[in-house]
Structure formats: structure tokens, C-alpha cells
């Protein structure tokens, strides 16, 4: 079991290393990248099975006790999120192999290795039981995302890259300050020890630390008013890169928040979380409505949906946390698929602008179907996973009698539906725009890309079908997080 944790980090890293070495030999590089990612994903699935049956797995890296060294902790929460995230990267890598070259054509050989590093960072972020290692994992993820976003050197990418890098760099600096606060106040950066020591602090220090990390993780998660980097940067990158970003990056932020703020017992911050959650979901959804480009609409929806996860967390109840976890699991693949479909649309008609597209449903019914399923899921329509997730969060809100946030959630749901309709009417219905001669933005094997997208859609459907099991697991994970003594004991034993 313990080796599985290591493999999820080491395998993609090793694949990235070898991939970097052989980067010009396409077939070898792709094979190695796929193998590394598949090994990681496979281990993550095995880990989930193991953790679900036998409970938390703790690895003391280098054999040091938690007081001195770093521990990796695969509790149920981590074990749930990890396979979903890693499978997504694997699927996107398949799509990327199909999409051989983008219109700009620069440096496609770097994408695979960089994805490998990003994946290793994601695994580390999910598994680490150490706040400083979380910082390092964030940096691994971020730096690969910086390079992925900008390495083709287009003007729009550099412009958005500067926004993206600068905001995240400031957030990283704030993270370091936060670590200094935490270390000054408790003398440790181990999460389990922190869960023990932070509640003993005076309330001002405790809540200040909580609020500070809310800002740090909130920037990564793109909550209001710290989300501005996201809609500016995501649409400028090539499809495959945006798809991974969309699926994973913000979710790491929200994941860290769920872990940190529940384990540290920051319940008093609940009202602030809920206000931010409400504004985030509404502003994000309105932002989506304002856009006229598929990728930008989808980018703003990430923001909006983060609001739901934050709402689940902000309720600080067992049901709410469960909802947040379930929403997280559902949202990762759905968002990725939507961006992949966005890529298919773009490839087909040479643009993802609504004004310049139309009539795709009759011309490419497969793309329409591939879009419809995740879109309905995103809008929270039954019987898809998005419905279950939203249902869980809203019913937790009703249980907690938090009327304003429930109303906001319902309103945001309506706005989401409207903007999905906007895409549908603009891209799939209506007359085909005759002026536009499709200039594919990417060259490659359409079948491979469609296969990967189809695979991802099937994945989201699987999540819908097994929503019951996932809910039960999420519930157990939430209960674990809400009783920190379990976590503390497991790490220290």
C-alpha cells in the first residue's frame, strides 16, 4: 500500500524526466508519458480501494516521525480525489496525442513532460500531510502551468501569462507568510500537529491564520474577488492545457481549503465563507453570460462552480462538507470534458466565438452529444452527477436553514442553465455561418481526440451512475475531516 502513494508521485515525475530526455522522439516520448500517467492513475485507483477497505495509509518519508520529517497521508478524502484527477490527466494526454500540433506549432514536445511534473505536483498536494510540502507541491503545479501556458510565446499568452504568474506568485508569497505565522504560533508545519495545536491558540491568532489561508487557497481556487487571473489566462492556452487546468488547478485550492479549514476547526469563519461563496457563484455565472466565446464562458463557469464547493465547506456541517467533496469529484472531469469539447468545436470551425459559429448539431451530431451530457451535468440537471452534487450542497444548505446561500445557489443554477443555452443556441443551433471557412486550430487525428473526449464523457457518466457509492465515501471522508482526532492519531501512530 505504501508504495502506491509513492508511485503516484514518482511515476509521472520519472516519465517527465525520461520524456524530457527523449523529447524529440515523438512515439517514445508519448509512450513513456502515457505509461507514467497510467501507472499513477492505476496506483491511485488501487489506493482508493485499499483505503476504502482498510482505512488511512500513512507514509513517513525517509522514515522520520511526523514531528521531524514529512508524512504522506492517504486518507479517504485524498484517496477519493486522487484517482479522478490522475485519470483526467491521462485522458487529456490521449487527446493531446491526437491533437498533434496546434496552429502555432511551437514546442509541442514539451507538453507531455510538463504535464508529468504537474501531475506529480497534484499527487503530492493531495497526499501530503505537511503544510510546507503543500507549498512545494503548489509550486510544482504552478510552475509547470506557467510554462505550459506561455511556452508557445504568443502575444496573448504572454499577456495573460503575466497576469496569471503575477497573481499566483503573490499568492505563493502570501502562502510563505502564512507558513511563517503558523510556524511562529505552533512550532510545526505538520498538518496533524497543527490540527492539535491551532485550536489551542487565542481566537484572534487562530481566526487570523484561518482567514489568511482562506486568501491563499482562495486565490488558487479562484473565489471572488481573487479569481481575475483565471478567465484571462485559461482561454489563451491550447485546448489540452486549458482542459487540465480547468479540471485540476482550482480544485487543488478548494481541496486544500477543505482539508485545512475543517481539520483546523475554523467553523467561526463559516459566515464569511458563505458570503464569498454566494458572490462567487453569482458573479461567476454572470461573467459567463457576458462572454461570447465558448472557452471564456467555460472559464467563468469554473469560478461560479467553485462557489458551490465553497458553500458546502462554509456550512461547516457534515452534510455540507460531504456535498463539497462530492462536488469536487464531480466537477473535475465535467469541466475537463467541456474544455475538450470546446477544443473539438474550435478544431471543427476554426473558432470558439459564438458569433462566428452555428449549426454544428446537424453537421457534427457527435460533438453535440459530447457537449450536451457534461453541459447538463454542469447546469445541475438530473440524472447527471452535477445534479447529485448540487442536490447534496443545496440540501445541506436547507438543512442548516441558510436561506440566502440557498437562494443564491438556485439563482446561480438558473444563470448557468441560461449560459449553457447560450452556447447551445450559438454553436449547435441556428444557421451555419457561411462566411467562416474553417481553419482548424490544430492538426491531428480527429478520431483520437473524439475517442479521448468520449472516454471522458463515459467517465462522467460513470460518476453519475456510481454517485451513491461516491456519496457514501464522501460522507465518510467528511466525517473523518470533521473529527480531527482520527487524523491526528492515524498520522502519529
Amino acid at each position: 500500500m505504501t508504495a502506491l502513494l509513492a508511485i503516484t508521485i514518482i511515476a509521472p515525475l520519472l516519465a517527465a524526466t525520461i520524456g524530457l530526455g527523449v523529447r524529440t522522439r515523438t512515439a517514445v516520448r508519448d509512450a513513456i508519458t502515457i505509461a507514467g500517467l497510467a501507472a499513477a492513475a492505476g496506483s491511485a485507483i488501487a489506493l482508493l480501494v485499499g483505503v476504502a477497505q482498510n482505512g488511512t495509509v500513512v507514509v513517513r518519508v525517509g522514515g522520520w516521525n511526523p514531528e521531524l520529517g514529512i508524512v504522506l497521508v492517504a486518507d479517504l478524502f485524498a484517496a477519493l480525489a486522487l484517482p479522478v484527477a490522475l485519470t483526467i490527466v491521462l485522458v487529456v494526454e490521449i487527446f493531446a496525442i491526437g491533437q498533434r500540433r496546434t496552429a502555432w506549432g511551437a514546442n509541442p514536445e514539451l507538453a507531455g513532460p510538463l504535464l508529468g511534473v504537474l501531475t506529480a505536483g497534484v499527487s503530492l498536494a493531495f497526499l501530503t500531510g505537511d503544510l510546507f510540502t503543500l507549498f512545494v507541491a503548489f509550486e510544482m503545479i504552478l510552475v509547470s502551468s506557467y510554462v505550459l501556458l506561455t511556452h508557445q510565446g504568443q502575444r496573448a499568452q504572454i499577456r495573460s501569462g503575466m497576469t496569471y504568474v503575477s497573481m499566483n506568485l503573490l499568492a505563493s508569497t502570501l502562502f510563505l507568510f502564512g507558513l511563517a505565522f503558523v510556524y511562529a504560533a505552533t512550532g510545526t508545519v505538520n498538518i496533524a500537529l497543527l490540527a492539535e495545536r491551532i485550536p489551542e491558540l487565542s481566537s484572534g491568532v487562530r481566526l487570523g491564520i484561518g482567514a489568511w489561508f482562506f486568501v491563499v487557497f482562495g486565490t488558487k481556487a479562484a473565489v471572488f474577488p481573487l479569481f481575475s487571473w483565471l478567465p484571462d489566462s485559461y482561454p489563451t492556452a491550447p485546448t489540452t492545457i486549458t482542459a487540465v487546468f480547468a479540471g485540476l488547478l482550482t480544485k487543488i485550492g478548494i481541496y486544500s481549503m477543505i482539508r485545512f479549514h475543517t481539520l483546523m476547526g475554523m467553523d467561526e469563519l463559516g459566515p464569511i465563507f458563505l458570503i464569498v461563496a454566494g458572490v462567487t457563484m453569482i458573479v461567476g455565472a454572470l461573467g459567463a453570460l457576458a462572454q461570447s466565446n465558448v472557452k471564456r464562458i467555460l472559464s467563468f463557469h469554473i469560478v461560479s462552480q467553485i462557489g458551490y464547493m465553497l458553500m458546502g465547506l462554509g456550512l461547516f456541517s457534515a452534510a455540507g462538507t460531504t456535498g463539497a467533496i462530492l462536488f469536487l469529484i464531480h466537477h473535475m472531469p465535467v469541466k475537463t470534458v467541456l474544455f475538450l469539447v470546446g477544443g473539438l468545436i474550435e478544431n471543427d470551425q476554426g473558432t470558439s466565438s459564438l458569433e462566428r459559429s452555428g449549426g454544428l448539431a446537424s453537421r457534427r451530431p457527435l460533438i453535440a452529444a459530447l457537449f450536451a451530457v457534461p453541459a447538463m451535468s454542469l447546469a445541475g440537471l438530473p440524472p447527471f452527477s452535477g445534479f447529485v452534487a448540487k442536490f447534496a450542497v443545496i440540501s445541506a444548505g436547507i438543512e442548516a436553514a441558510s436561506t440566502p446561500i440557498v437562494v443564491a445557489a438556485l439563482l446561480a443554477g438558473a444563470l448557468t442553465l441560461l449560459s449553457m443555452t447560450k452556447i447551445w443556441l450559438g454553436v449547435f443551433w441556428g444557421p451555419q455561418n457561411e462566411d467562416v471557412t474553417p481553419v482548424p486550430t490544430a492538426v491531428g487525428n480527429r478520431r483520437t481526440m473524439q475517442f479521448a473526449t468520449g472516454l471522458a464523457v463515459a467517465g462522467t457518466l460513470t460518476i453519475s451512475v456510481f454517485a451513491g457509492t461516491l456519496f457514501d465515501l464522501s460522507q465518510e471522508a467528511a466525517e473523518n475531516l470533521r473529527t480531527p482526532t482520527n487524523y491526528i492519531e492515524e498520522v502519529q501512530s
Binding site: T2, A3, L5, A6, I7, I9, I10, L13, L14, A16, T17, I18, L20, G21, R23, V59, R60, V61, G62, G63, L72
Partner: protein
């Protein structure tokens, strides 16, 4: 640039290089017991490379290969204990005698540090290459694009 292709400067740098490299090697090996370590060593090597590049003695090439090699060493050192069933990054301490340096007690920390050094050197090389340091050393007449 002032330094560019000046024979005296080149000579000076050529002469100083081995010395600086020895300092780097010392830092690398001493790091476990005294201030130093792989990162500092890498930066010292990097400084040598920088000077040599700016002086036009060498070109900053093979950055990616060096980085890939460094990463391979680091990752494999970290992962090796998994092969014999230990946890990630588990240490193996060895001690052996080396002429000149005396008894060296070291372990898997050493290859790990060597990998770090390689990556840092690679980074400096890529900085010189990517920011086209070489173009600074050329005289303006050579780089000027005819308009």
C-alpha cells in the same frame, strides 16, 4: 559588452575556472557537515559557466540534457528505496575512504545532491541560452538586422 572577446579577460577566466570548480566540488562534498551543499555548488559552477559564456569561451548548450540527467539522478535516488521495499527517500549511509578528502561518511544524500547540482547548472545554462546571452557578446554590427 566590455568582456566580449577580450583575450586578456578570456585568459583570466580560463585560469580561474579550475579554481572555482574546485570550490564548487568542495561545497558539494562538504555540504553534509559544513555550510554548502548541492545547490550552492551548482551556483558556483553556474557562475563559471556564465563568465565563460559572456567571455565567448563557450556556448551554453546541452542545458536540457543536463537537467534531464540531474532530474533522473534525483528522482531515482528518491525512488530507489521502493525497490527493496523501503519508504520513499529512505537513507542508506555509507562510509568510505577517499584519498585527499579522508574518510567520507555519506549516503544516498550524495547522489541526491549531485543531481541538484546538475539541475542548477542546467538552469544557469538555460538562462544564458534562453535570454540569448551570447547575443550580448557579439558586436552590434554582427547582430544588427539589415533594415
Amino acid at each position: 559588452m566590455i568582456l566580449a572577446h577580450s583575450p586578456i579577460v578570456q585568459l583570466g577566466i580560463r585560469a580561474a575556472s579550475p579554481l572555482a570548480i574546485m570550490v564548487g566540488v568542495y561545497l558539494l562534498f562538504a555540504g553534509h557537515n559544513n555550510p554548502g551543499g548541492g545547490f550552492a555548488a551548482g551556483l558556483v559552477f553556474g557562475a563559471v559557466v556564465t563568465l565563460r559564456t559572456i567571455a565567448g569561451i563557450q556556448r551554453p548548450t546541452h542545458a536540457i540534457q543536463i537537467i534531464a540527467a540531474g532530474m533522473a539522478v534525483v528522482v531515482l535516488t528518491a525512488a530507489a528505496p521502493l525497490l527493496w521495499g523501503d519508504v520513499l527517500l529512505d537513507q542508506k549511509v555509507l562510509s568510505f575512504k577517499v584519498p585527499l578528502l579522508g574518510t567520507i561518511k555519506t549516503g544516498s544524500a550524495l547522489p541526491f545532491d549531485i543531481g541538484v547540482t546538475a539541475i542548477v547548472v542546467g538552469l544557469v545554462l538555460s538562462l544564458l541560452d534562453g535570454l540569448s546571452a551570447t547575443s550580448l557578446t557579439n558586436s552590434p554590427a554582427e547582430t544588427e538586422i539589415p533594415s
